[in-house]
Symmetry: C2
Subunit: 183 residues, 2 copies
């Protein structure tokens, strides 16, 4: 099992696909170029993925790398840690230049929409976890649901990264936390 050649080829293809996605977006991805630059034959690519779409979806699915959620004992501090980490990723993470392509394609392609939905669940998981823990601790409940809290924290961060293109710094994160937990 697990032929080394297969793993090597798959890894090389996925790495180059990822690089090209972040550089050119989904619509700019070319199998010919992936093949040429990765050194993996096009035939081999089509042996492992049935179509261009399948490769795109496979590569994008791997963006969902989630770290362990914090557990400070306070929901507010947990959320602050998560939001600060997200803000940092929005400034530096290379996936942030791929995600708009996914959002765009999801608007029309059902398969990509399904993948985006999974990815989204992945990203939101830590937030749901810390909210659940707070409930288990019988912490004073917020005046909003977990989904609403997530939208009010993450929404403005995404807004600044992709829409207004303003800076996403810790000061802004703290403002969001203070607002959501209404000082």
């Amino acid at each position: 099992m697990t032929d080394k050649r297969v793993e090597r080829s798959k890894a090389a293809v996925l790495a180059e696909t990822y690089r090209q996605l972040s550089q050119s977006g989904i619509s700019g991805l070319s199998i010919d170029e992936v093949s040429r630059i990765s050194g993996v034959s096009k035939m081999t690519i089509y042996r492992h993925w049935p179509s261009r779409s399948a490769l795109v979806i496979d590569a994008c699915s791997r963006l969902g790398i989630v770290s362990e959620p914090p557990n400070t004992g306070s929901l507010r501090e947990d959320v602050r840690v998560l939001a600060t980490d997200l803000a940092d990723q929005l400034r530096t993470g290379s996936w942030t230049s791929i995600y708009p392509s996914i959002i765009d394609a999801a608007e029309r392609d059902p398969d990509i929409a399904a993948m985006q939905s999974e990815l989204h669940k992945c990203f939101m998981k830590p937030f749901h976890t810390v909210v659940e823990r707070a409930k288990d601790r019988r912490e004073a409940p917020l005046n909003m649901s977990a989904d609403e809290l997530i939208a009010t924290i993450i929404g403005p961060l995404f807004f600044r990264r992709w829409f207004s293109k303003e800076v996403v710094d810790d000061r802004f994160v703290n403002l969001l936390i203070a607002t959501a937990f209404h000082i």
Copy 2:
């Protein structure tokens, strides 16, 4: 001046371009198909726009239709009206399926990034207007800037329309208003 043939051609091309953009996104737009369906010759299209990109940018630039900002005498109510209207557009407006394409392309194409920046300013204008008016009225200042207020209100709305795909209803708008103006 203003040959009727020119105006008719331009209008037909822009209309079909808009339709195709909302159906297939920027990368799915084809000049051949715009020509075929609109009934305007491809040569004529290239007579009026120097390139495909120019047509895309011209068509997208026209998304910025801004209505007159409200003037209720209260910043909070003004913002509520604007946010409610935006929420309605996010549910029904056809431009909402084009905008992700713009955001995506802006990530890599400087010309589209410039257009998106203009479009964004257009969209945000009414919010800035009502904030300015509140300042002029010497209304009790918020504990955040205009840009921060905009991000905390619009961010979550955009988040739900394009990322989490949850419902964007008036109840949610009211929650955002209440949170931003910290009841």
